[in-house]
Amino acid sequence: MVSRRAAMAAMAALLLAGCPKGKTTVPATGEAPAASGGSPAAAKPIRIAMIAKSSTNPVFLSARRGAETAAKDLSGRTGVPIEIIWLTPPQEDGQIQAQRIAQAVNEGANAVLISCSDAGKVTGAINDAVARGVPVMTFDSDAAQSKRFSYYGVDDRQLGEDVMAELAKLLGGKGRVAILAGNQNAPNLRRRVEGVKSEAAKHHGIQIIGTFYHAETPQDAAAEVIRVGNSYPDIKGWAMVGGWALFTKTLLTDLDPKKVKIVAVDALPTELPYVEKGLAPVLLAQSSFLWGNVGVTKIIDKLHYKKDVPEVVSMDPVRVTSETLGSWSRQLRQWGFADVPEEYLKLK
């Protein structure tokens, strides 16, 4: 019977993944926290489930690093072991995120930190978690209608307006521009697109030829830019509400900085050559490291220190240009990015 064989195959395949190393949750920080009053061994650990949109997006890997750094620091400061449980799906899927919130609660997580791929899909799961005594905080992309206690991130509409204002300035207030918009279901990206459009309406010489959605992977994003560029050769500027396309190197050779200007959100190491080359003279960086870092800090404020946390904690974007390339590069290196080009670290 194939079903019997299939079952055996499933068992064999499961064994391919190897055996677990221990019975209990492995601390993501990887090290035992230092004590500062009280024995950490005796203290009840605080387990924070972190669910970003996609584990293949570098900004969320940076957020994870920030969360783990905060967990390590705060473990030392509070004497309570703090564990980050990384439950981010490989691809964006609000339904999977909702399932993982439930899983985190079922397995005894003390709090959830999430960036919502689809606010509508996760709102029910967030409310269930809160009803079962597990506080939820959102970062980057909010679920404003849910019972989450706080949101940390930029004002997305304002960020969209800033992107367009910078682009209009670079283009001298005229030209045809396109919007690179990522996943059409992410509420934060939609608000940024609204901001871009509303700001563009203030510049009579700016004409938006279209808003282009794509799978949020670097290759898909870059391919979309090239496709649109081939269809509209007279594009003068790109307003990118996320930095996906600049995570590849391909646009460095495919686009001419004398003909096209880009203003994009995010400024990770792979995007910095675009600033240097003048193709993206302005990047508006979200400090993605701080998503995790501040998120975990606020959760500990609420759970451990019993402090009141504001419902919205605003993050101000950082303007990265050729003048600030050096200081921003050093900041990235300090946050643990090993791939920052050495030459940028030497800049003023």
Binding site: S3, P20, K23, Q103, G108, G120, G124
Partner: protein, 366 residues
């Protein structure tokens, strides 16, 4: 001395050999049952996860709770499987007929979006009205999409892989255009229906799991207890022989795609209600999980063999493997590798088994 005599010891009591022989038909039947292997592995995984999952202190009761063996996780795992499993029942019927349906994920998305848009416009007064309207719309869209697939396969005489590959994109495109990419929130009554605790207590939602069991049972009844179900097996087993025996193959083919659309519509109704919103990207890539569930459940892609119950068990097994990766804190990126390996190994073993059986048959004839 008769054969029966040989099974008695001199004192007249049944010997060990005789007891074994007496038990053997039951044991043999059990061992030969289509579900035995899958159930064995599912039970093995349940035990393995229960032992290795570790435990945590429940915030509310202060008691130690196993991370896996608790009612929340078990029902959540069944719920996660239920949406695939319901679609897998329909997809298995298509596979048994010798076809394939790649569009089930898109049918799910379109049925969900249509339901969301209708509920947004119609906003029926009572809570039950919204649930009924949502159900009717989701099922109607599923049936229509299935009928379209079936009619195109029959009328155009193009391989169903190509037809459903095309409709997979077309239907998702319609969902995108009609929703304008919006995520549409559903009325609370839909959520209350899909997340009704049925007296089990807060945060325990057994409705999708129960629907999965009912639909699998209905699917099994259809396939094994009705004439139409036998016709599906006949078509998949030997289309030419079925034609010569007078079966109306076109009607059977359209029927199986309609059933696949129906199950996708039902899954959309339940899944969308459970998660409380719909969007055009819902169920992206789910067709592969659905087909994988059918194949792991023993369906033969060349047709003629498959089981609705096994498809459900296949879906449960795949979700359990996914769950185990997370519960055991393995690297979650192994999920695709493990599921992929399970499917490939299952199909390879299936083909080897078929070759072995054919060889034995040939030797028997000699």
């Amino acid at each position: 001395m008769t054969a029966a005599d040989s099974r008695m010891d001199p004192a007249g009591a049944p010997s060990d050999a005789s007891r074994a022989t007496r038990l053997s038909p039951i044991v043999r039947k059990l061992l030969r049952s289509q579900q035995f292997g899958l159930v064995t592995v599912i039970v093995f995984l349940l035990i393995l996860l229960s032992v290795l999952a570790g435990s945590h202190i429940d915030n509310a009761t202060g008691r130690s709770v196993n991370n896996f063996l608790n009612s929340y996780t078990l029902i959540q795992t069944a719920t996660d499987a239920s949406f695939f499993a319901i679609m897998a029942v329909g997809a298995t019927i298509v596979i048994i007929s010798g076809g394939i349906d790649l569009s089930v994920g898109s049918v799910y998305a379109l049925a969900g979006v249509a339901m969301g848009l209708c509920l947004r416009v119609a906003t029926p007064g009572g809570g039950v009205g919204a649930v009924v309207l949502g159900f009717v719309v989701a099922v109607a869209v599923g049936l229509a999409a299935g009928a379209l697939n079936g009619a195109m396969v029959v009328a155009l005489r193009v391989h169903p892989f190509i037809i459903t590959l095309g409709t997979m994109w077309i239907l998702r495109g319609i969902a995108f255009v009609s929703s304008k990419g919006d995520s549409i929130t559903l009325p609370d009554s839909m959520i209350h229906f899909a997340k009704s605790p049925l007296g089990l207590g807060a945060a325990l939602y057994p409705v999708p799991m129960l629907c999965m069991l009912i639909i699998a049972a209905l699917g099994a009844t259809y396939l094994h207890r009705t004439v139409m179900g036998r016709h599906v097996f006949a078509l998949g087993g030997n289309a030419e022989a079925s034609r010569f025996s007078g079966l109306r193959l076109g009607r059977i083919q359209i029927g199986v795609y309609v059933l696949a659309g129906l199950t996708a519509g039902l899954a959309a109704f339940l899944g969308s209600g459970f998660y409380g919103s719909v969007s055009c990207v819902d169920a992206t890539g789910y067709e592969l999980y659905v087909i994988a569930s059918a194949v792991v459940g023993g369906a033969r892609l060349s047709g003629g063999r498959g089981s609705a119950i096994n498809a459900m068990l296949g879906a449960v097994l795949i979700v359990l493997i996914r769950q185990s990766i997370r519960t055991l804190h393995l690297d979650q990126n192994y999920e695709w590798i493990i599921i992929g390996c399970a499917i490939v190994i299952a199909v390879v073993l299936d083909q080897a088994s078929a070759r072995f059986a054919a060889r034995r048959l040939a030797q028997g004839e000699e």
